[in-house]
Amino acid sequence: MKAQQLIWKNYAWTGLRDDLSGAQLVILFASREALEDRRCIDQLRTHFNNAEIVGCSTGGNIAGGDVSDDFAAALAMKFDRAKLQVATEEITNPNESFDVGVRLALALQAPQLRSILVLSDGLCVNGSRLIEGMRSAVGNEIVLTGGLAGDGAAFNKTVVAANGIVASGRVTAVGFYGAEVVIGHGCAGGWDAFGPRRTITASEGNTLYSLDGKPALDLYKRYLGADAAGLPGTALLYPLTIVNPEQPDQSMVRTVLAVDHERGTMTFAGDIPQGWSAQLMRGHFDNLSAGAAEAARSASIQTHSPQSEVAAVLISCIGRRLLMGESIVDEIDAATKELGDAQVIGFYSYGEISPHAATGCCELHNQTMTVTTFAEAW
């Protein structure tokens, strides 16, 4: 396998290599505006006329060891033996998430399927249900990674690009086939729970009503103080770790997608089951960076191959960037160091998809750094 990171700056791609012109897949991360402008896509199409070009809008693009909304990042991958296939589904209501997941998975289901990379609309999808749907169709052995598209810190509109179409309300998935496909994955948060443990006293799906019998939004507003004006984006500063009391060692992190000031409710990127316990989290720069390094290390050690270059896709949560600001380069730096010579791009997302570090079960994560590495070996 050959792979190359490409950077879109000043309306031109840099890093294009002739030996990759036959690439089968190009993954593209860009701001919504850049995607909707389409020039970046058109230029890729010109160069990679055989490739499937898939991508999504982001909350920041990662390439060249830096993070920026100004440039776009792309990764061209040319497989020697592996096959791939792309499937795309539309979604108009989060309630359809499970079914959309099932349809996508069934479209990609085939012998030799090893892994699926999912890029989804970031706002009108229940990510947990989407992944559940996919998992229910392909089983737990297939590695599902990917993320929910972003829209900076605005949470207004996200888009997904596939088959030359750039639009909201879409989910695209790339299936990787063949015994030679080597996929590595890692997922880590690095957030620290703080303050009292609360009980989720009222919730419905991914909507949270109350903690310890009090409106959850009030709690967030109190903790955010002046930052409350920036809701829902600023709610990412305080993700929620939730735990099923019956499996206390398997915690999950949930992040806010939207708030309803009138009803006092908050919508999260994944389910918030009633009766579970919840605790606010906050990030320390060093711990978040250490988490990113851990995720990258975990993915990297799974994809050592003498026959192949390695490509890595970093998908990190917008909340981390929001918190760390300029210092966000620290986590990119920490992750990149663990990935050695790999070609690395990535984006800041509204939700990350990866196997759970403890259970191995593919799930939607929030506030994490997830790393997927690709290689071929035989």
Binding site: G195, P196, G325, E326
Partner: protein, 623 residues
């Protein structure tokens, strides 16, 4: 000099370079300044979050304090409840270590201060030293091994206390033992059981025990054993009760019970069946000699004088015996046979014992037949009243008639002394008596108005609360002037429940009925009776009249009676007068009235007409 740049700054410097490599100072400063601002912001957020967290934790701590206080109060309440409960309580964990025990538990088992780390084994062995080993059984040892709720056992301690223990497993392992001191309730239950099975007066077993014993012995008899049943009662015990009062009677019964106990062996059973009835079950003795010897001994022992509250009392006993299996092996049959034998013993003069014999059964059957006939007689009008006149010496005319009951049975007439006692015994006397009064009043109403009628009232009738009502009703229905009715009673009536008897007599007197004392001179003839009630008349018993002309004592007694009566304002009637000589003497002794064959035999009502028409003029002449 080499400056090591911070990663972020290095990145910012890189970003600030233009394509030709020159550094954009303004851009760099902008980035650096932004970094500072972001770090300031992050610090401010941390402080804000820390502050809120502190407040929240304070609230939580306060809530926890309150919860703890509530828990502490709950604990104190629970502790007070456990400490003050009368039952002993001990709770153990799954490893058998003591979790909690209360004061009652410690004091119940004299444990003093129990170390909180005590194990169940240690405590149990301490308790075991107190337990009366004879009361300990397998269930006690195993109680704590069987993990079933509600296991309960009872042990007796060496000091006599009875402790019930209940074992209940806890859901999280471990268990609770609750101990109850049941000494008092067990003693009460034992006492209740004793009282239910024993006669309160003598302490002897009662009929329940007696029946159980017989049933048990009948089982043994069927397997080849022998046994005898002795039924006994005291001769004329009633008289003691009536004359000396119940307290004396009760003491006598106690003394009798004590003597009976001395007569039998421990394996025999004596029971008091009620009143002066006792019964003995004799076992494992050679029969019939064993029973005969015992009966003889009992009669002899019981006949020895008793000294009770200064009264020396002598009383006999009669005994009836049935022997199993000869007289049957069925409890009811054996008792019935012993009763029949007793009946015979009494009938034959008391103070003796009789074995059951087959013929006795026949006698009882005959008596039962008689009973049926008697009941039939009242319904079918076989009774008839005959009337015997009383001749007034002064007025030389018939003053009244005594009504005398006759039973004209189709197979021949039955004398009153045969059926009256039976009627009294079977409770028919009240009905017969009522009939007699009604009939007598009705008949007398048809006589000349100066002539009265006298009716005999049996002592048994006197016990009936209906007597006065019955007499009033007869007078009302017949329309007879109450002053024409005379009631004759014997002194036996006055022996029983004197206060009530006197009340009845006074009530009858109040409505005008006259009262006569019948058969005066026989029995006790206590003059105190005459003081208790002002009788209208004394009827001198025929036994004195019979000898009045030959024995001077008889004439002296009659004179004394007539003089006594005269001085008390009572009239006198001489009964059984058969000769002119007797009449002459009686007239000389100032006897008021003459009754007997000399005047007339008792006659049916239809035969009285002649007497009303002066046919007794001859008598006047004779007088």
């Amino acid at each position: 000099m080499v400056i090591t740049m911070h990663r972020v700054l290095a990145k910012q410097v890189e970003r600030s370079r233009s394509q030709d490599g020159t550094l954009g100072i303004d851009q760099l400063f902008g980035l650096v300044s932004k970094t500072y601002e972001q770090n300031d912001q992050d610090r401010a957020r941390s402080q804000h979050a820390n502050h809120l967290m502190m407040i929240e934790l304070d609230e939580i701590n306060r809530a926890r304090e309150e919860a703890l206080q509530i828990l502490r109060r709950e604990h104190d309440k629970l502790d007070a409840a456990i400490s003050n409960m009368a039952h002993g309580l001990a709770m153990f964990d799954a490893d058998g270590q003591l979790l909690v025990c209360n004061a009652s538990y410690r004091s119940m088992f004299l444990l003093g201060e129990v170390a909180s780390s005590s194990s169940h084994t240690e405590l149990l062995s301490a308790i075991n030293t107190l337990v009366d080993s004879s009361s300990r059984n397998v269930s006690y040892e195993r109680m704590f091994e069987v993990e079933e709720s509600g296991n309960s056992i009872e042990v007796t301690l060496k000091d006599g206390r009875q402790i019930a223990a209940q074992f209940s497993p806890l859901s999280e392992g471990g268990w609770v033992e609750v101990y109850y001191d049941v000494t008092e309730s067990r003693q009460a239950a034992e006492r209740i059981r004793y009282l239910a099975r024993h006669d309160a007066l003598t302490g002897l077993p009662n009929r329940i025990v007696f029946n159980e014993t017989i049933r048990h012995e009948c089982e043994r008899v069927r397997r080849g054993a022998t046994a005898s049943i002795l039924c006994l009662d005291l001769d004329h015990f009633k008289v003691i009760n009536d004359t000396l009062g119940h307290p004396i009677g009760d003491q006598l019964l106690q003394a009798v019970a004590a003597r009976l106990k001395d007569c039998v062996r421990a394996i025999d059973t004596i029971a008091r069946l009620g009143g002066d009835e006792f019964a003995i079950v004799q076992v494992d003795a050679a029969q019939p000699d064993g029973a005969a010897n015992l009966a003889r001994r009992i009669i002899e022992e019981l006949s020895q004088p008793y000294l009770i509250e200064g009264h020396q009392l002598v009383i006999g006993a009669s005994v009836g015996i049935s022997v199993a299996p000869a007289d049957g092996d069925d409890p009811d049959l054996l008792v019935r046979n012993a009763d029949m034998a007793l009946y015979r013993a009494k009938a034959e003069g008391r103070g003796a014992f009789r074995f059951f014999e087959v013929g006795m059964d026949t006698e009882v059957q005959a008596r039962r037949k008689m009973e049926l006939k008697l009941r039939q007689a009242l319904k079918t009008g076989q009774f008839e009243l005959n009337y015997q006149p009383l001749y007034d010496v002064q007025s030389t005319s018939i003053s009244s008639f005594e009504a005398l009951l006759r039973w004209n049975h189709p197979e021949g007439s039955v004398p009153p002394d045969q059926f009256i006692p039976l009627a009294e015994e079977i409770g028919l006397i009240s009905d017969i008596g009522d009939w007699v009064i009604q009939e007598a009043c009705k008949t007398a109403q048809s006589w000349p108005s100066e002539i009265g009628v006298a009716v005999n009232i049996s002592p048994v009738q006197f016990k009936s609360p209906k007597l006065v009502t019955s007499i009033k009703r007869a007078l009302e229905v017949s329309g007879l002037d109450p002053r024409r009715l005379e009631v004759e009673i014997t002194e036996t009536v006055l022996l029983q429940d004197t206060d009530r008897t006197l009340a009845v007599l006074h009530e009858l007197r109040k409505i005008g009925v006259r009262i006569a004392m019948d058969d005066f001179g026989t029995g006790y003839s206590s003059l105190s009776y005459l003081r208790k009630f002002p009788f209208d008349k004394l009827k001198i018993d025929r036994s004195f009249i019979k000898d009045i002309d030959t024995a001077s004592e008889a004439s002296a007694i009659v004179r004394a009676v007539t003089e006594l009566a005269s001085s008390l304002g009572m009239r006198t009637t001489a009964e059984g007068v058969e000769t002119d000589e007797q009449m002459t003497t009686l007239c000389a002794l100032n006897c008021s009235e003459i009754q007997g064959y000399l005047i007339s035999r008792p006659l049916p009502a239809s035969g009285l007409a002649a007497l009303f028409t002066g046919q007794i003029g001859d008598l006047n002449a004779a007088a």
